[in-house]
Symmetry: C2
Amino acid sequence: MAHAVAAVPAPPEHELLRGAGLRVTGVRLAVLRALDGHEHSTADDVVRAVRADLGAVSVQAVYDSLHALATAGLLRRMEPAGHPARYERRVGDNHHHIVCRGCGLVADVDCAVGHSPCLTPSETHGFAVDLAEVTFWGLCPECANGP
Amino acid sequence: MAHAVAAVPAPPEHELLRGAGLRVTGVRLAVLRALDGHEHSTADDVVRAVRADLGAVSVQAVYDSLHALATAGLLRRMEPAGHPARYERRVGDNHHHIVCRGCGLVADVDCAVGHSPCLTPSETHGFAVDLAEVTFWGLCPECANGP
DNA sequence: GGCGTTCTCTGGAATGATTCCAGTATCGAA
DNA sequence: TTCGATACTGGAATCATTCCAGAGAACGCC
């Protein structure tokens, strides 16, 4: 009876990649896993996590994967001014970010108002706007108290 | 009667610097002038403008001035992801930016709603928020039509 | 199951904006 | 006018990211 179910189901990450028309590779799977539960990781964080997972992997392989996945909409790239880029798997929803001026810590914020009032600029200067990005700046609890 | 007014009034930039507690130097005045009518200039743009104005000036002098002026609140620094930082003299008002994905062109947008509903996040995670930054992304008319 | 095309990964070097450093020049208060 | 603090010079360094050419792996097709 153990073999009644035809095959081991492919892991969800596998499906995601196929669904997006991307080849399934070890590095890409490892990148997705690395970001699971570690939102707002830098490319460097991801490189370390992927190497802990797979062994030797080149920096470019990770950058390429991050690019491919971001372009396919499987992850989102955000770049706080003055900090390296950060990646997250939470996509498709309308959420924003708080960045700490002290340590660079990033936290998610759901849109303050539910729908998107600020997401339609008053005057577009003829631009075809496709995305509104809101970043809050401040100090995290740690940096606000610390020396 | 011509000499009734005691002295030639200091240029407004001069006053601005003194008012902010900054020393008045040629480079700083030239940086402010360079940004006049050329909002959203890059550091490189400013270096070129300052050199056209004063002659030989080091890159660091311009970066130092930009930093000092930005810290003093006399200009604002904005850094669209993937592009060099840009500087503008329009400060203190609540305005945002549209950035072209094609050419990097930046335009000003007044807050879509007048006051600031989006500027108060729903949950701050304990952060002391002091600034909300809204960036719209899209294509400028030129890039939307061009090849 | 093997084959070939096409995309991905490796390793190393390059880029570009920005910053660091030590020494010299300048600003402006006394 | 002098002096201390601050700004500027020139050159080298940093850091995230990208470019490059070639070796390797995925997967549609026979």
